[in-house]
């Protein structure tokens, strides 16, 4: 299944965060990895798209005090999501063979 760059970023971060993958945490990780802020609008609409593709599932998690008692939108990768992420990574590795910035 074709993935976009931002979709891959979300899948990767969610896979690394595991049980702690939710909106704000994913935003923080993406901002750290890319050096750019990630808007809530872009994140939530992409989560919807990934869920429609069957690559993730989302559910409302427990509220926490630091969130003003508001719930989180928890994210879990499906088996298809893990496979799609792995394929994207392999594709990037294959396409980057011999490229100058890939050998540095």
């Amino acid at each position: 299944m074709a993935l976009g760059e931002f979709e891959y970023l979300i899948l990767t971060v969610a896979a690394r965060l595991g049980d702690e993958a939710y909106g704000a945490a994913i935003r923080r990780e993406i901002a750290q990895a890319t050096g750019r802020s990630c808007s809530i609008g872009a994140l939530y609409t992409t989560l919807d798209r990934l869920e429609t593709k069957g690559l993730i599932t989302t559910a409302m998690g427990d509220p926490t005090p630091e969130r003003g008692g508001r719930q989180k939108r928890m994210v879990r990768l499906t088996a298809d999501g893990r496979q799609a992420g792995a394929e994207f990574y392999r594709t990037v590795i294959r396409a980057s063979r011999g490229v100058a910035w890939a050998t540095k």
Binding site: I40, M60, E66, G68, R70
Partner: protein, 295 residues
């Protein structure tokens, strides 16, 4: 501890208040999660506003990728808004002349004359029916917009309202001809009364219809069919009035033939079908109700 953080971050800035108002356009559960993310990230007011506004715009823009919002706009809000604009303005101008005539002259001595009494009752009854028809069409238009595309219902309603007030701009009616200038020279009859009629019998019923659309469609089909039947009958009864309004009153049609609606050989011409478009929201409402019941 969480609430102290929330209150210290939020403060009382205009950006926060605007972000809160905008977030009302999101689904409740998503709104909760978004505000939680905003608070956890300790965003400033402008950052919160940017985040919330961005999501609201994306959600509503995404809705327009479906066919339903376009159907609501092109088959509902735009054509019905235009017709409601013409009809409300025509009926306002027509009734303003009589209201001005009766103003200051209506008293018991006048009403004791049988013919005068009959004229007055006919005028009042006609005005009440016209206003009821306007309100009924506007209400069903609102319900239709709310049913066809829930997410974009308020945008479609807003476009309809803009058209109601602007579609007749730059035009006038035969009611405002030279002979009636004394009436329309008065600010109340020339400007305020038509605006009032549109607000009370078009805008408010339209908004109410949009707001209650989900509940109306969920009503028992027999009730909805009854409502739809009344509105269809009302539309047929008022069809010639609608036609007159669409020609700015210039083509006052001859009385209808024996059937009172579709015309006969002694009519100037038969009724056109366009005015009957005002009944489509009521018919659509009835169909939705029956389909929902069957499902």
């Amino acid at each position: 501890m969480g609430h102290e953080i929330a209150s210290s971050v939020r403060g009382a800035g205009a950006a926060w208040r605007l972000a809160e108002r905008l977030s009302a356009l999101l689904d409740p559960r998503e709104r909760d999660a978004v505000w939680g993310d905003v608070l956890e990230c300790r965003a400033s007011g402008p950052e919160a506003l940017r985040d919330v506004a961005g999501l609201v715009v994306r959600r509503h823009a995404g809705a327009w990728l479906q066919w339903q919002p376009w159907a609501a706009l092109l088959l509902g809000a735009i054509p019905l808004g235009i017709v409601l604009s013409f009809v409300s303005r025509w009926w306002a101008d027509g009734s303003a002349i009589y209201l001005h005539l009766y103003e200051g002259r209506l008293n018991w001595a006048y009403l004791q004359h049988r013919a005068a009494r009959g004229d007055f009752i006919e005028f009042v009854a006609g005005l009440l029916v016209d206003c009821a028809a306007l309100a009924a069409w506007s209400w069903t238009c609102g319900v239709g917009l709310g049913t066809l595309s829930r997410r974009t219902r308020w945008i479609a309603a807003a476009i309809c309202v803009v058209l109601v007030f602007s579609a007749t701009a730059g035009t006038t009616t035969t009611a405002r001809a030279f002979a009636n200038q004394e009436t329309f020279a008065l600010p109340f009859y020339g400007t305020i009364y038509p605006l009032l009629l549109r607000v009370l019998f078009v805008v408010l019923p339209l908004a109410w219809g949009v707001r209650t659309s989900a509940r109306i469609v969920a009503m028992r089909p027999s009730r909805v069919m009854w409502l739809a039947g009344v509105i269809v009958a009302l539309t047929a009864f008022e069809a010639r009035g609608i036609e007159s309004s669409l020609t700015f009153g210039a083509r006052i049609l001859p009385p209808p033939g024996p059937d009172g609606i579709t015309g006969s050989a002694d009519d100037g011409r038969p009724l056109r079908l366009l005015p009957l478009a005002m009944m489509w929201p009521a018919v659509y409402l009835a169909i939705c109700s029956v389909r929902r019941r069957k499902a």
